[in-house]
């Protein structure tokens, strides 16, 4: 977790470096803004002092003159350039950052999409959400808050000190001696002191968010058991921890802000003192004496952004670390091969396959071997936890076997082309994922080009067409988050309809009729039977009882008990 700051941030810095022109223009606009502010104040001070001295000389009857047009014009120019540069700079830099963010989001989702079941199961989905949105949003501070401002501030300090040194070398040195250490403190010092607390804050917010989701999705049970207050206590403890850390970083940032003003003020006082000494030795003129401290004064603006940004460096670092972890995990997942699967029903052979989840005591599957001939329908039965879902995960290449080989249509599974595998092997799992969006969008996941009439056919096959017709919006009806607007049985049938829009050669059905009533099953079963003709089928079921809930056309049964295939008395199943 604690890789070096540089190693953590470097992938993102490289990503930034891909847009050198945009970044350079952004910094340039920032520099113009700061120097317009310095110029405006310094030139005005010079002009007023020069006018006053000229005025005094004139009043004393001495011959004196002052060119008022050049400084006057300069003052007006700086007034306008400060405004324009600032507006353009902010707009331009924000656009740069948001462009980058859109790229980052897409890229991270792509990385996540390559993860297999093992890595996915390790994450909580609200954490994923946080990674996608908040972490990437936090990384925007990389350029706009953590790279450009310190660079601009450093340029400002060095150039102003150099400018002072042109007239009064000691003043230049004094300002550099005061403000360069301040700059170091504001960046490195604030970052160091704020690191732990600001890094924790991201974690607190993340936990708060998932606790909020728990609270919301679990309201029913929490209310029934009267444990709302109990859950709230946990929530409150997290809030307290967050508040402690926010208070700490807030006070630190406030200290930084106060320090900026104090040090810039001291720099100005020192400059005034040294310039006055130089003036008394007639090394510089009176107007210059006024101009120099005012130039120092304007640096404050360039330093003002640093304390808050660097106190929160830990948040940026934490975000970058989590994003790096996702990318690394996705890189370790092997890609498929490039062998295409043939058309028609597929054969399947498992040879001595074992699966051991990391950290688990016993292997989930031990020495599994069975064969499925094209067009056969094998029922793999077993209690929950016996390993049926693990078999499904292996066959769909969601997990690699720890030992043994899986041969699909005479091709080792790992050599099968990814697209071909997804097209030719279909699965209806225990968990149904429906997506926010319409019925049609959810169906078209399986067949993006499908016409409306094909969708209606699929719905009719699972006995949902009549229901869908009765809805005011028909196929455009939205199914809600995770299909919440549908009943459990409707969601399952919709998922089955989605499957039937494809043309797989191997179909894996995990309890296809779970949660459906007997009448619906009686209507559905023959249609499913018909669609399964000419495909190889693997049913995953708890128990075969020969009743109406049994999936259609089973030719053979194997039983799975605690990860092992048992010798089945009735392995040839009477058909019908």
């Amino acid at each position: 977790m604690s890789e070096s700051l540089k190693a953590t941030l470097s992938p993102w810095l490289r990503l930034l470096a891909r847009r050198p022109r945009r970044l350079a223009i952004g910094v340039l606009l920032l520099v113009v803004t700061v120097f317009s502010a310095v110029g405006l104040l310094a030139l005005s001070g010079w002009f007023i002092a020069a006018s006053a001295l000229t005025g005094i000389a004139l009043a004393m009857g001495l011959a004196a003159s002052l060119d008022v047009y050049v400084p006057g014009g300069g003052i007006r120019f700086f007034a306008v350039s400060r405004t324009v540069a600032r507006y353009l700079e902010r707009l331009y830099n924000h656009d740069t950052v948001l462009r980058l963010l859109a790229d980052l989001r897409g890229r991270l989702f792509g990385a996540m999409a390559r993860l297999d079941d093992r890595s996915l199961a390790r994450q909580r989905s609200s954490d994923w959400l946080n990674r996608l949105t908040a972490d990437i949003d936090t990384l925007d501070s990389l350029y706009l808050r953590l790279l450009a401002p310190p660079a601009v501030a450093l340029v400002a300090v060095v150039l102003v000190a150099a400018f002072l040194a042109l007239w009064v070398p000691a003043a230049g040195l004094a300002v550099a001696a005061l403000l360069l250490p301040t700059w170091v403190w504001l960046t490195a010092g604030q970052a160091r002191l704020g690191m732990a607390a600001s890094r924790r804050q991201v974690g607190h917010l993340q936990r708060l968010r998932s606790q909020a989701i728990e609270y919301l999705t679990g309201l029913a049970e929490l209310e029934a058991y009267g444990s709302r207050a109990w859950h709230r206590r946990g929530f409150r403890q997290r809030e307290d921890a967050l508040r402690r850390d926010q208070r700490r970083t807030g006070r630190l940032a406030a200290f930084g802000t106060a320090l900026v003003n104090l040090m810039v003020g001291l720099g100005m006082v020192a400059t005034l003192w040294l310039a006055a000494a130089a003036w008394q030795q007639e090394a510089i003129g009176g107007p210059i004496l006024v101009m120099l401290p005012l130039a120092v004064f304007a640096i404050g603006e360039a330093l003002a952004l640093l304390p808050a940004a660097f106190t929160q460096l830990g948040a940026t670092r934490g975000a970058a670390e989590r994003l790096n972890a996702v990318e690394r995990a996705s890189e370790s997942v092997p890609e498929g091969g490039n062998v295409e699967l043939p058309a028609g029903a597929l054969s399947l052979r498992l040879e001595a396959v074992s699966l051991h989840y990391p950290g688990a005591l016993a292997p989930a599957l031990r020495n599994i071997a069975f064969e499925l001939m094209p067009g056969e329908r094998l029922a793999l039965s077993g209690a929950s936890g016996a390993g049926k879902s693990s078999v499904a995960a292996l066959l769909t290449r969601r997990l690699p076997p720890s030992q043994g080989v899986i041969i699909l249509a005479d091709v080792p599974l790992e050599q099968v082309d990814e697209r071909s595998l997804r097209e030719r092997v279909a699965i209806l799992g225990q968990r149904i994922d429906l997506f926010q969006g319409s019925l049609a969008t959810n169906l078209r996941l399986a067949a993006p080009e499908a016409s409306e009439s094909r969708l209606w056919q699929a719905l009719a096959a699972v006995d949902l067409a009549q229901w869908a017709e009765s809805l005011p919006h028909g196929l455009a009806t939205r199914v809600g988050e995770g299909g919440r607007a549908l009943s459990g049985g409707q969601a399952r049938r919709l998922a089955l309809a989605r499957l039937m829009l494809r043309d797989p050669g191997l179909v894996i059905l995990d309890e296809p009729f779970a949660g459906l009533d007997a009448d619906t099953v009686a209507r559905l079963s023959p249609r499913l039977d018909q669609w399964l003709q000419g495909r190889s089928v693997l049913y995953l079921v708890h128990q075969l009882d020969g009743g109406g809930f049994e999936p259609p056309g089973i030719t053979r049964e194997r039983r799975l008990e605690q990860g092992e295939l048992t010798v089945c008395a009735k392995s040839e199943y009477p058909s019908g």
Binding site: L41, F47, I48, S51, A52, T54, G72, I75, R76, R82, T83, R90, H94, L101, A102, D103, R105, F109, A113, R122, W128, A134, R209, A212, I213, L216, L219, A220, E221, L222, E223, A224, E239, R247, A253, A254, A258, N261, L262, G265, V269, L272, A276, G286, V290, A383, S384, G385, S389, R419, L434, Q436, W467, G482, E511, G515, L516, D517, T520, H542
Partner: protein, 562 residues
């Protein structure tokens, strides 16, 4: 605190919350005023030193005390600045806490059905990120709002005393600023609200896609979904840029006026000192007064500039508050008006002529009347979508009926289990204790045994302390269901509401669960079970068959159709 809920606009609602922390906010403003006064003193000392040096010709040594005073002023000013920020932060921390509490309470009052119908990701975003988005408004904007009136006025008074014509320049440009800002701000606020809605939709979109990422992989649709994600983010960028173009414009207008005013004052003072200006107080200008006016001119605008920088905090807060008020305006469950059932009564809970509709789906249940008597086992059957879950939710009081009434015995306790049991991020023990926080280890073990999970837990290296992932990842569907059952056994509820309790259990586990459920019946608890499973139906002491939200048949003891 004034009742924040009676506030009609987001601004009033936020203001009502600010009143609760007026002491910290007041402290922040006072420290800010002190900073303003010290700034004036600092500038006056600076101008005075310059004028003593250049005009009077004092030696540096004679001015040492002035330099030392200047340093002292700088130090005190920095302290006040720190105090201002810290006090503002403290107020903001406290207010955000209060607001989060208010929202959570309201969601609880809405009930599991109505609150559960909303997208949990978007709601969580509202409870966490959007409440955090109020920070700038309370910590910085509100204190600065007072400063932006007081400090410029103080400076103006000083400048009037120095040169009323210069003060007039400042005065003339100042009122234009709020005017422009108001115009620009109005647009920015609307855009900001849109942006908040967009952020909310965006995170809902993400959570949805990420939750189903395995399905997307299986359908080989991840590339398309990834493009969709990129597209959604880019839409968000375009929307943001629209907001920012306007938001930045308001501060640009301010910067422009501030810069121009400084330039005008500088040129006026310069020309006045040269004696080019023949009218007004210009001929009385000295280097001291002229320089002080120039130094104070930027400070005159500084509070307003700072306010403008925090203006987006205000817009963000108003946008967030708008969504929060919309949530707070959602009706809470009607409080039971009808009297509790008499304790001598057989009935634990009764629904009398109730109906229920869901937005967008129309009426899902009723009108019907159902009673549950102590000790009975009522099995509710019917095709999927017939309203079984709705009936259970009404019995539980998770949603108030549109018509009719629900009456319960006083102090009725009940347990609940549905098709998606909640699994919290934490250990198995914590997940069980959700039903009974005070339960002992032995209680937990007993409950696990009854639910048929004891063996599994005993085989785990960390036993009850084994951590669970979200939605019970690590547990199979059947195991999660049995964990939820264990909770019921752990509670002392006299009424147990079960929605498809054995939907994903194999026969052996189902038999075990039914055995345990029978034990619950023997203990005298009442069960209401919505199910399709024949074995569970056989437990019924009474059966109720629903069809399209109405009671189709009712029978005692015997099955309905054989």
């Amino acid at each position: 605190m004034r009742d924040a809920r009676s506030a009609s606009s987001p601004r009033q609602w936020l203001a009502a919350h600010a009143v609760g922390q007026r002491r910290w906010l007041g402290l922040a403003a006072m420290a800010g005023v002190a900073v303003g006064v010290l700034t004036i003193i600092q500038m006056a000392l600076l101008a005075w030193i310059v004028s003593r040096l250049l005009v009077v010709g004092d030696s540096l040594a004679a001015l040492t005390w002035a330099f030392l005073s200047l340093i002292a002023v700088l130090v005190v000013r920095a302290l006040c600045q720190w105090g201002q920020e810290v006090a503002g932060q403290e107020a903001s921390l406290r207010i955000r806490d209060a607001i989060r509490g208010e929202l959570l309470e309201h969601l609880a009052a809405m009930g599991p059905v109505r609150a559960g119908a909303r997208h949990s990701g978007a709601l969580a975003n509202q409870l966490v990120e959007q409440v955090e988005a109020l920070d700038g408004y309370f910590a910085r904007f509100l204190p600065q709002l007072r400063l932006s009136v007081i400090v410029p006025l103080l400076i103006l008074l000083v400048v009037v005393w120095l040169d009323w014509l210069a003060a007039l320049f400042l005065l003339l440009s100042a009122p234009l600023i709020p005017l422009f800002m108001a115009l620009v701000g109005m647009g920015a606020e609307r855009l900001n609200r849109e942006q908040f809605a967009a952020v909310s939709r965006l995170s809902g979109h993400f959570l949805d896609r990420v939750r189903g990422i395995a399905t997307l992989q299986l359908f080989h649709q991840t590339r398309e979904a990834g493009e969709e994600v990129h597209e959604a983010a880019d839409r968000y960028r375009r929307l943001s840029m629209r907001t920012l173009r306007v938001a930045f414009l308001s501060s640009a207008v301010l910067e422009f006026f501030a810069s121009v005013a400084i330039a005008v004052v500088a040129i006026y003072v310069g020309f006045g000192l040269l004696g080019y200006i023949e009218f007004g107080p210009a001929d009385e200008l000295t280097l001291f007064s002229g320089l002080l006016i120039l130094l104070l001119a930027p400070e005159f605008f500084q509070p307003l500039r700072t306010l403008a920088q925090h203006y987006h905090d205000r817009a963000a807060a108003l946008g967030a508050a708008d969504g929060m008020l919309a949530l707070l305006a959602e009706p809470v469950r009607r409080v039971e008006g009808s009297a509790a059932l008499p304790s001598a009564d057989e009935r634990l809970v009764s629904l009398e002529g109730v109906t229920l509709s869901h937005p967008g789906r129309g009426r899902v249940l009723g009108p019907l009347s159902v009673e549950v008597a102590a000790g009975e086992t009522l099995v509710v059957t019917g095709p999927s979508g017939a309203g079984k879950s709705a009936l259970l939710q009404l019995l539980a009081g998770f949603v108030a009926p549109d018509e009719g009434a629900r009456r319960t015995q006083a102090g009725l306790t009940f347990a609940w289990m549905d098709q998606r049991p909640v699994l919290i991020h934490g250990s198995l023990a914590e997940n069980l204790r959700l039903a009974a926080p005070e339960a002992s280890e032995a209680d937990l073990q007993r409950a696990l045994e009854r639910a048929g999970l004891a063996e599994l837990v005993a085989s785990l290296p960390h036993g009850l302390e084994t951590p669970l992932g979200e939605r019970g990842s690590g547990l199979s569907g059947g195991q999660a269901q049995r964990l939820a059952l264990a909770r019921i056994f752990l509670s002392d509820a006299s009424l147990v509401l079960l929605d498809e309790p054995t939907a994903s259990l194999d026969e052996a586990s189902e038999a075990r669960v039914i055995e345990s459920l029978t034990r619950l019946v023997e203990e005298g608890r009442s069960l209401v079970i919505a199910t399709h499973h024949p074995a569970l139906m056989a437990m019924a002491s009474r059966r109720l068959e629903l069809d399209a939200g109405a009671i189709k048949a009712q029978a005692t003891g015997v099955p309905l159709h054989e």
